[in-house]
Symmetry: C2
Subunit: 80 residues, 2 copies
């Protein structure tokens, strides 16, 4: 069972990495970019045999304990 | 115009970061995880007025020049 996890900074949290990328894009001549936010992306493979409900429960725990810093980040996942 | 960009390691390229995360998940008791691959995720805001074709052309250039190291990484983007 393959899962795609996205972790992004919460709305309103400053993203200096994104700003640096935006600046670099400007310097490279890409003038149409008005904002860049950087996030993290994970592809997780879960062993077969878990039910979807069990997988969801585990994934919430994984995200809260390891993938995301829930103080400043939000997460979402999609089970394929 | 909002764009979501994913950059992932190409198939076959070792992902030590992913392996470290997998090991940490195992140590935390998540025994059902059989693989983790880590990628990058960007949300880019493009100024209105670009056509979809122009945006696509710019995005390919941005990905090849800045977002991805095309020797070892692949990229994809979705315009919303």
């Amino acid at each position: 069972m393959r899962v795609k996890i996205h972790v992004t900074l919460k709305e309103g949290v400053l993203d200096p990495q994104g700003k640096a990328i935006q600046k670099s894009l400007g310097a490279l001549g890409f003038k149409s970019v008005s904002d860049v936010r950087m996030g993290k992306y994970f592809e997780v493979e879960l062993r077969e045999g878990l039910s979807k409900a069990e997988a969801e429960k585990e994934l919430v725990e994984m995200c809260e304990k390891l993938f995301a810093n829930v103080t400043i980040e939000q997460y979402s996942f999609a089970i394929e």
